[in-house]
């Protein structure tokens, strides 16, 4: 779960990157093999799956449906987290209550971005990629100006702390458990996936989106306002990223470069699952999250990450359309 973000590259070499890595290595090793700890790790993996699913969902919309190479995806997650932080800080709001605001806030920013930047670059993927990278730098810079570069902390609601004990031994000590918050993340992720699928496959708005992606000029002829649909879809994807930011903010610290951590992972999930069907990202998140957790348990964390990334590279090489896409004749 680590990737690095260094704000100024050339000046300081001692921007130390992966405290996570070192910490998690020691955690994973030195433990004898047992099925309960494997099961624990698998459950841990479910938590990772939840996070991956949540962060990749927005990207599945912007890249999967609209084919926009959005490298600023992580920054929309970051925006959501900052909205939550700000509302909690000034109004003392509960984390759950800030979710709609994070959604609307990031969706508005997304709509603005679509209107000013993305719209000019349709059909030019590499330019879009560069522009969104520039955008990500700008968004980070602006947030840094407003909130400074300090780490911020968001409180998780009290009723979501603690964990469910799934299995205890005779003496009553816990063998397998899952924290409420991780389960909460999984539930939110699945719920959002469900809502999105309903929107896409069950409403006329979704039908219009699919029509536009399949044949833009034809849908224009049929009177679909394609520009509005584009803007709405992009804004919706960004809004989802905002919700992801809110939910994740309580798990880790909030800082301007935090979005970078999720960028590469979200991309891997979307690319693995394939972009044809939204269900693909559920499969992608599950594969990546679980294999990460299991390999990390058997070997160690960095190795797991390297192996999983390597596997994804091989996968892209042989099946760029993703694992769960029906082969089409084109």
């Amino acid at each position: 779960m680590l990737d690095l973000a260094l704000s100024s590259m050339m000046s300081s070499p001692v921007y130390l990157l992966a405290q996570d890595a070192a910490a998690e290595v020691t955690e994973a090793t030195g433990e004898s093999f047992s099925y309960t700890s494997l099961a624990n790790q698998a459950l841990n993996g479910i938590g990772i799956v939840g996070i991956l699913l949540l962060t990749a969902l927005g990207l599945a919309i912007t890249f999967g449906v609209m084919r926009i190479i959005n490298l600023a995806h992580g920054e929309f997650i970051m925006l959501g987290a900052y909205i939550t932080f700000w509302m909690q800080d000034t109004f003392g709001m509960d984390l759950l209550l800030t979710i709609p605001f994070a959604f609307v806030g990031t969706a508005l920013v997304g709509a603005l971005v679509e209107l000013t930047i993305i719209r000019r670059l349709y059909g030019r993927p590499l330019e879009t990629l560069l522009a969104t990278w520039g955008l990500s730098i700008v968004l980070q810079g602006i947030i840094k100006l407003i909130f400074t570069a300090q780490l911020k902390y968001v409180k998780a609601p009290a009723y979501l702390s603690g964990s469910i004990d799934l299995m205890t031994d005779e003496t009553g000590s816990v063998l397998i458990s899952m924290s409420y918050y991780r389960s909460f993340i999984v539930v939110v992720a699945l719920a959002l996936l469900g809502i999105t699928m309903f929107l896409f496959y069950g409403t006329s708005w979704g039908r219009q989106i699919r029509a536009v992606t399949q044949n833009r000029s034809m849908s224009q002829c049929l009177g679909v306002n394609t520009k509005l649909i584009d803007m709405g879809t992009f804004a919706y994807g960004c809004g989802l990223a905002g919700i992801a930011g809110t939910v994740i903010s309580a798990l880790k610290t909030v800082s301007p470069p935090m979005g970078q951590d999720y960028l590469v992972d979200s991309w891997m999930v979307v690319v693995t699952g394939g972009v044809d069907k939204l269900v693909g990202i559920l499969a992608g998140a599950f594969l990546i999250g679980e294999s990460n957790a299991i390999i990390a348990f058997l070997l160690n964390d960095p190795t797991a990450r390297v192996l999983v990334l390597g596997a994804v590279i091989v996968l892209i090489r042989y099946r760029p359309e993703g694992l769960f896409t029906v082969q089409k004749r084109s």
């Binding site: 130390l16 590499l126 560069l130 990278w133 520039g134 730098i137 994804v312 760029p320």
Partner: protein
């Protein structure tokens, strides 16, 4: 140099280019004697970063492969060079007296690993500085380019590569020094004599000139023409019978070797190497230089890297938000000046015009025949055709 077009044997020696680059070179030769030692080391560093940007321009600007992985090649070369310098530390300078580098002692290694030990010798190290990145590029290149994978997916693969390698280098603390990388290396010396900073500067300057000249020659040749056609329309070039993958793999490997050498020169100058330069962030920095400077202009990326680096150096004393400025600049360039800042230069001053007075034999059939005495004057139509 001469070129036979339509029966004329015309001189194609690029006089203007020679004059301008001569003046530029002269400035860079005089400069180190005028500026202070801090500025000198900054200038050397920026020249190397500029060279790195030029190598990326070869694969991106000319061939159309956008790579975030050029930091990888740079860093691989850098590590090879750092092992060499570290292993050649004299015993009294080494923290633990012995032959073993300090970070290996900290991590409990007792003998030098067999794959690092040969790097103590200069020829091996020199080969490794070029060979390791080139080999890595060749392997990844053969793997990626011989498939139906296209543009954007290749970019995503390079992102994943960069991310994976960074994790790998950080995790292998005993061999790579972890997040700190390899620090406190010895000074570069020849036959026991330390090379002063100004010597390293000239070494780097020579290398920069070499890379520029090589890239220029390569891109102006028929080979370069094929590269540019791959960028324009890959399928058509494949239909004409060219093995597109072979060309891509070649330029990818060559560019990696050149980038690796830049990394190899970076370590004697900077005195350390760390996974920072492997990371996606550094890779994107290189991409930004090329994008802002102008793709396919060679001199543009070099200039952009050097100017942005200079400005950043002064701006960081005033404001912490320099990155914001870079981001805005990148956005503006991508949206409004898609060919980079070099395209804002007046036509006569552009690199391609200065260097290429000759209409290509194929284009010459339709372009008006240029009398020999006018050969060095760039013709606007011919220039547009070729750019």
């Amino acid at each position: 140099m001469s070129n036979v077009v339509m029966g004329y044997k015309q001189s194609t020696f690029p006089k203007k280019l020679a004059a301008i680059s001569g003046i530029a070179l002269l400035i860079f030769i005089i400069l180190p004697f005028v500026i202070g030692s801090f500025q000198l080391s900054l200038l050397s560093k920026l020249l190397l970063f500029g060279t790195l940007a030029v190598t990326l321009d070869l694969v991106w600007g000319f061939t159309g492969i956008l790579s975030f992985a050029h930091g990888i090649f740079f860093t691989l070369g850098g590590y090879a060079s750092a092992y060499y310098l570290k292993l050649n530390l004299s015993a009294e300078n080494n923290t633990y007296g012995g032959e073993l580098p300090d970070f290996m002692v900290w991590n409990g290694l007792e003998v030098l690993p067999w794959f690092i030990a040969p790097l103590k010798y200069f020829p091996v190290a020199f080969l490794a500085v070029i060979g390791v990145p080139a080999l890595f590029a060749y392997i990844t290149g053969s793997f990626i380019f011989r498939s139906k994978v296209s543009g954007v997916y290749i970019t995503i693969i390079t992102l994943a590569l960069s991310s994976a390698l960074t994790t790998f280098f950080i995790s292998q603390q005993a061999y790579t020094g972890g997040t700190n990388g390899i620090t406190d290396v010895s000074k570069l010396s020849v036959f026991g004599v330390n090379i002063p900073p100004i010597g390293i500067y000239f070494l780097i300057l020579a290398y920069t000139v070499f890379v520029l000249a090589l890239s220029l020659w390569l891109t102006q040749s028929n080979f370069g023409l094929i590269l540019r056609s791959i960028n324009e329309n890959e399928n058509r070039i494949a239909f004409l019978g060219y093995d597109v993958a072979q060309y891509k793999i070649f330029i990818w490997t060559l560019s990696a070797a050149l980038a690796g050498m830049a990394g190899g020169l970076f370590v004697p100058l900077n005195r350390f190497i760390s996974p920072v330069y492997l990371a996606v962030a550094f890779g994107t920095q290189v991409v930004i230089w090329v994008a802002i400077g102008g793709r396919g202009t060679l001199i543009g990326p070099l200039a952009a890297a050097m100017i942005l680096g200079q400005v950043q150096n002064s701006a960081e004393k005033v404001t912490q938000d320099w990155q914001l400025v870079v981001g805005i600049l990148l956005l503006v360039v991508v949206l409004f000046i898609p060919n980079g800042l070099m395209s804002l230069l007046p036509k006569q001053l552009r690199f391609s015009n200065l260097s290429k007075p000759k209409p290509l034999p194929g284009a010459a059939a339709s372009a008006p025949v240029v009398p020999p005495e006018m050969a060095s004057e760039p013709k606007p139509e011919a220039a547009q055709r070729s750019s």
